[in-house]
């Protein structure tokens, strides 16, 4: 394991310390908790997210005016506990309640649910929007359901804008639930991530293999193949995504190419170029594009492709609004 770290059991705390030092004008940490809160907590519904660490800049990098009120950081690839989430909720509540944005993993769901109950016992109104954009897993009552991956950042950004505009908790919950249904993501991995405390890659791919559908914690994908060109990968991922959409000629869509941690921006742009060409065949309008490392998986090489179908121009405007966060960019 080649990593620039110290004690692998302390990596999250040291990261948070470095993060808070780097972005001290924007965020602060709650003492004794791994909770990052915005220094500008506005008079609005609080927006709290979080999950396991190792997905940086998600989620702490999205804390700030116009996006999240707080992010709760778990151990690497492990949900934070309810008491931690509760602290984030309490710090974010201004009497208008708090919306939780939770990626759909059993661990996250159960821990955030429990935090919600604890908060409600303290008379804070809490709602949850569950993000399950990863179409690698089929949604059925026989599984834990689709996972939450990179599309989550669209939820943070759009609901962040809405919360700033003064939408109520109930409105945000409804808008969020609706939004989530129109965000789909699929990933491809070239190498596995290595969790510091484990010390070896989570799975093994041969020097010339890639795997489609891998999750951001190294969850197994749906197909292993020998290395493909960017064009072929774009074809496969767009094809897979198009099964979840009926692309409308006059529909407006957004695209996110998300690097998983070790894949350089150069490859991400090359890939976007191929995605653009693939999508051109559907005659859809791409009204928004984003490229970069936003929901990573430690040092995994690979990327994910997210498509969002906009319900209207308000959502596009929400994505384009300026925010003051460490990492939205």
């Amino acid at each position: 394991m080649k990593k620039i770290i110290n004690d692998s059991s302390r990596v999250v705390d040291e990261m948070i310390e470095g993060f808070c030092f780097a972005h001290q004008e924007l965020v602060k940490k709650i003492d004794d908790y791994r909770v990052i809160v915005s220094r500008d907590i506005e008079n609005q519904v609080g927006l709290v997210s979080g999950g396991g660490s190792g997905h940086e800049p998600a989620h702490a990098g999205f804390v700030g005016e116009g996006m999240l009120s707080a992010a709760v950081c778990g151990e690497v690839f492990s949900s934070p506990t309810p008491d931690q989430v509760l602290e984030g909720i309490k710090a974010s509540d201004n009497g208008q309640g708090v919306l939780l944005v939770v990626k759909n993993y059993t661990g996250d769901v159960l821990n955030f649910d429990m935090a919600k109950e604890l908060a409600e016992m303290e008379d804070i109104a809490v709602e949850t929007v569950l993000v399950d954009d990863d179409i690698a897993v089929e949604d059925s009552t026989y599984t834990a359901g689709k996972r939450g991956v990179a599309g989550t950042i669209f939820v943070h950004k759009i609901l962040g804008a809405y919360a700033r505009q003064g939408k109520t908790l109930k409105e945000l919950k409804e808008l969020g639930d609706d939004l989530v249904g129109r965000i789909k993501t699929i990933g491809v991995a070239l190498t596995a991530a290595t969790v510091p405390e484990v010390g070896k890659p989570g799975f093994n791919l041969k020097a010339d293999e890639l795997e489609y559908g891998v999750g951001i914690h190294g969850e197994p994908g749906y197909l292993r193949e020998t290395l493909k060109t960017s064009k072929d990968i774009a074809k496969e991922l767009v094809e897979k995504l198009s099964q979840s959409f009926t692309f409308k000629e006059d529909g407006q869509y957004g695209v996110l190419v998300n690097g998983l941690g070790a894949t350089p921006l150069m490859e991400q742009y090359v890939f976007l170029n191929d995605v653009k060409k693939e999508l051109a065949e559907s005659n859809m309008q791409i009204a928004y594009t984003k490229v970069g490392n936003y929901m990573t998986s430690l040092d995994m090489a690979g990327l994910s492709l997210t498509i969002i179908e906009f319900s209207g121009t308000t959502e596009i405007a929400a994505l384009n609004e300026e925010v003051t966060t460490p990492s939205w960019g």
């Binding site: 690839f77 309810p82 661990g107 429990m114 190294g218 969850e219």
Partner: protein, 195 residues
Amino acid sequence: MTLTTDETRQWLLEFSKRIQEQKQYLSDLDQAIGDGDHGSNMARGVTAVEDMIKDDSLTKPSEVMKKAAMAMISKVGGASGPLYGSAFLDMSKIIDEESLPEVVEAGLNAIKKRGKAELEDKTMVDMWGPVVEALKTDTLTQAFIEETMEATKPLKAKKGRASYLNERSIGHLDPGAVSSGYLFIAMIEEVGKND
């Protein structure tokens, strides 16, 4: 017969000991069908349980059990944390008045409520459920528990991370069922010993 405070404490300490001994094994089981952290999640939890129940001022089983619940809830982080935590919490609510079958059943119900899993979904419910039945008929033995662990092997996971594997989850023990098995082996050993 209700439990004594001391029995409750000894039960949880014995549970902790077994978890720590089997930490690597539990993680290995989780590596096969999950994310390989069940052993360290549980170990983190039970270490906190030990710390919190050592307190001499705890004079009722409910107090001990509630501390254990809080420890699991605030230290585990994985899916198992809120599940064990909810179970212990609901058990603590009746443990001073009710006897073992009712107490464990309260735990089972809490787990089912929180995790929405049913029997045969290949989760810890597949340990808690049979154990409750066996307690009711007074047929609970270590052998029964071990058989119950084994019985999770052929199941296909429908809840938790293992469900992502679909058919490939078949043929492996469920880690949460195994760790729960240790809870009940510890119970057999420590509860009712001085009758």
